[in-house]
Amino acid sequence: MKKTVTLGALTVAALAAGAAGAATLDDVKARGELKCGVSTGLAGFSAPDANNVWQGFDVAYCRALAAAVLGDPMKVAFTQTTGQTRFTALASGEIDVLARNTTWTFSRDVDLKFEFVGVNYYDGQGFIAPKSLGVASAKELDGATVCIQTGTTTELNLADFFRANNISYEPVPIETNAEAQQQYLAGACDVYTTDASGLAATRATFETPADHVILPEIISKEPLGPLVRHGDNEWGDIARWTLNALIAAEEYGVTSANIAELSSAPTNNPEINRLLGTEGELGAMLGLDAEWAKRAIMAGGNYGEIFEKNIGEATPIGLSRGLNAQWTEGGLLYSPPFR
């Protein structure tokens, strides 16, 4: 039964890919809706709220993109993808853009034929363990049972980490974050490993977050970012520069509070003018109108505002900016100039 379904899905995927064609921008405009792939529910990054409206850090990017392209941040159809289904969904044209804490790696970029448009969160893989386990370092995990989301880079990093340290472990492969959380809390695994941001988000939903510690080791580089299909460079440019616009807006101090004022008339900062479309033809070069970036920023604020609202220190998830601060503040966020 399963077999038939999969083969059927393949056929459908093959047909859909034919329809997806080259010009994603035209498809999105004709459809009047952006199809965005997100996770199956990771608090702070992408999860539906009480009113069944998707909220989160990754979701905010999709809304900004929809605002830039279609003029309405709510015109997004979200598709839930698991670690295993996300790439097929994107490759087959089921979604236009994937914003699902996806690590930018060489093989995904080159071999899987995707185009990462940038990094919206610099992350690394960590471990969470119950305090009662008495483990202070990941290197003490010899023989431990480790819950892990299958089909992710974390699975490979984990294998590398334990091999490099010459210690052993028992992997328990799991499909979604929610299942992993349940298994971990039931004690079916000693530790749970995923991106450190995901661990913080998961811990925030525990009944007693204080009983669990995130171990100090970060065992990998996980630059997370949105991605699109290879081959449609115009669409890739729009996705890339929407992300850059959000980052640049924070750098230049453009916020959702002052954007109306800044865009009403040209300011004396030409960079802001070009970004907001009061000077130059940047929007037209992208195949959009002049106010594309303004709408993207108005959708949820600049990068910093999105960060603070969804995963920042004031939220239950409580992530500090760390590597994700602007380059001017010692972080890695660095948007190429709008020129």
């Binding site: 039964m1 399963k2 077999k3 999969t6 083969l7 393949l10 056929t11 995927a13 093959a14 047909l15 890919a17 034919g18 670690g83 295993q84 790439f87 097929t88 490759a91 093989s107 995904r108 071999d111 899987l112 034929k113 995990l141 010899d142 023989g143 431990a144 049972t145 299958t150 089909g151 699975e155 490979l156 984990l158 294998a159 590398d160 334990f162 091999r163 210690i167 052993s168 472990y169 028992e170 992997p171 328990v172 492969p173 799991i174 499909e175 298994q183 039931a186 004690g187 079916a188 695994c189 000693d190 299909r229 290879h230 081959g231």
Partner: protein, 473 residues
């Protein structure tokens, strides 16, 4: 009298292809054939075109690339530096394992429940009816997830086994039921055919030696699958724990008991030879009975012919039990039956067993009541009647639908991913596809595997079917 003359010969007209019944069926078949061919060629050319558009090629080279991921349950030696092909093979063996275990248990459950449902005992027949209807009418996935959740949520963690007032192991401290699975003792041999490792002589610092082997021990125990052949590497390691723990005080050079695939093959061969011997004895008894009317007592001889060689081999190999012991995070030693395996195995067996029960009941009901009455009239007791008269005839009705139940069970085992059981769908069809992006190749291989497996099962079952079917002379 009117003479009937032949209708005048008329040449073949095109309209005959549609209106003439002689040609119509031919026309329909040719048209259908062309349509199917067009559909297929369109599908194939569409796939090729789209693969080109995506810039992907069609290549099975990924199977020889290093896999990079670990698999918890492995019946053959595997580590993350081995190839995707090897990982697929590990998955295939895991699929086969759960399929064989499932088919065996489902058959037993099904036959018992099917016979009991026809019982005159009201409670027994109602209880089996509840079982059959309950399992048959609830989706399999729910049962798998339910059993898995029960195992993980309600059983104690390995940590709870620490201390005096914690949980304790059952069956003479040899079986531990935890929320990570069931740990059972394993048979190890001190004169293994695969060769034994010798413990390091004169450990200078016993604690340090124990610590280092303990590392290897946890490796083995945590990574070792469910018994059977091919547990060599892991078992060597886990046995090392016990060996070192005991040997740290004893004199050096002690042999570490272990087990290898060769040991199990030898035992299997001895078992088969023994049962063939028992069968020969039984045939001889039947021959004597047919010639003289008296059946010589053969049961003790038959039992001896199976057991004596087995015991001799076990003693020669120096067999002993390796009991699981609480190690660092988990139990070490023994065999670890993971929750995922148990949940999948039980759910598949209970679910398919309910269907088999109905097939068995139908088969028995298909035998005319006259057969029973005739058997009773000959003086046969109910049990003998069932075994010698009813079931052999019922088998002819039971086996064909039983084949499709076995096929169902095997294919349903691909639901394994729901509980993280690393079958071929999870390794080749899951992680490998995800890491290499070879969806089409992976899915085709997966489909091919299930196709071949299903054809094999039905082939074997068809051979069995023809051996029990009505012999027409």
């Amino acid at each position: 009298m009117a003479t009937i003359s032949d209708p005048p010969e008329r040449g073949f007209r095109l309209s005959q292809l549609i209106f003439d019944t002689r040609y119509r069926s031919m026309t329909i078949q040719v048209v259908a054939m062309i349509l199917i061919g067009l559909l297929l060629s369109w599908l194939i050319s569409n796939t090729i075109h789209n693969l080109e558009a995506l810039g992907k090629d069609f290549d099975f080279g990924f199977l020889s690339q290093p896999a990079g991921y670990d698999i918890n349950q492995q019946l053959i030696d595997y580590n993350n530096q081995m190839t995707h092909g090897r990982a697929a093979l590990v998955g295939i063996l895991n699929t086969l394992l759960v399929a064989v275990l499932g088919c065996a248990l489902a058959t037993v459950l099904g036959v018992v429940a099917g016979v009991l449902r026809l019982s005159n005992n009201w409670i027994v027949s109602r209880l089996t009816a509840v079982y059959v209807e309950g399992f048959r009418n609830v989706p399999l996935l729910l049962w798998i997830v339910l059993i898995f959740a029960l195992m993980t949520e309600s059983m104690p963690t390995p940590r709870d086994f620490r201390g005096e007032d914690g949980s304790s192991m059952i069956l003479g401290e040899s079986v531990a039921i935890t929320n990570r699975g069931v740990y059972i003792p394993n048979v190890v041999f001190s004169r293994s055919l695969g060769g034994n490792e010798v413990a390091a002589p004169e450990p200078e610092a016993p604690a340090a030696a124990a610590a280092t082997t303990n590392m290897a021990g946890t490796y083995g125990a945590s990574r070792i699958a469910t018994g059977g052949a091919g547990v060599q590497t892991g078992q060597t390691d886990s046995a090392a724990t016990t060996g070192a723990a005991e040997g740290s005080g004893a004199e050096g050079g002690e042999v570490i008991p272990t087990s290898s695939g060769w040991d199990w093959l030898l035992i299997l061969a001895v078992l088969i030879a023994g049962s063939i011997g028992a069968k020969v004895l039984g045939k001889r008894a039947t021959r004597i009975q047919e010639a003289t009317g008296k059946r010589p007592t053969t049961l003790p001889l038959q039992i001896a012919s199976v057991l004596v060689p087995l015991i001799v081999v076990l003693v020669l190999l120096g067999a002993s039990l390796d009991k699981p012991e609480l190690g660092g995070f988990n139990f070490d030693g023994g065999v670890h039956l993971r929750n995922s395996l148990i949940a999948l195995w039980l759910a598949l067996s209970l679910y398919t067993g309910a269907f088999i029960a109905e097939i068995v009941r139908g088969g028995i009901l298909a035998i005319s009541k006259g057969q029973t009455e005739a058997a009773y009239a000959l003086g046969l007791r109910p049990g003998t009647t069932m075994n010698l008269v009813i079931l052999p005839q019922a088998l002819r009705v039971i086996i064909p639908p039983l084949i499709s139940q076995f096929l169902n069970l095997t294919k349903n085992s691909s639901l394994a991913i729901a509980v993280g059981y690393m079958d071929v769908r999870s390794t080749l069809g899951g992680i490998t596809i995800n890491q290499t992006g070879r969806e089409l190749e992976g899915m085709l291989l997966l489909g091919l595997f299930y196709l071949v497996l299903s054809l094999l099962i039905s082939g074997v079952m068809n051979v069995y079917n023809s051996s029990v079917k009505l012999k027409e002379r």
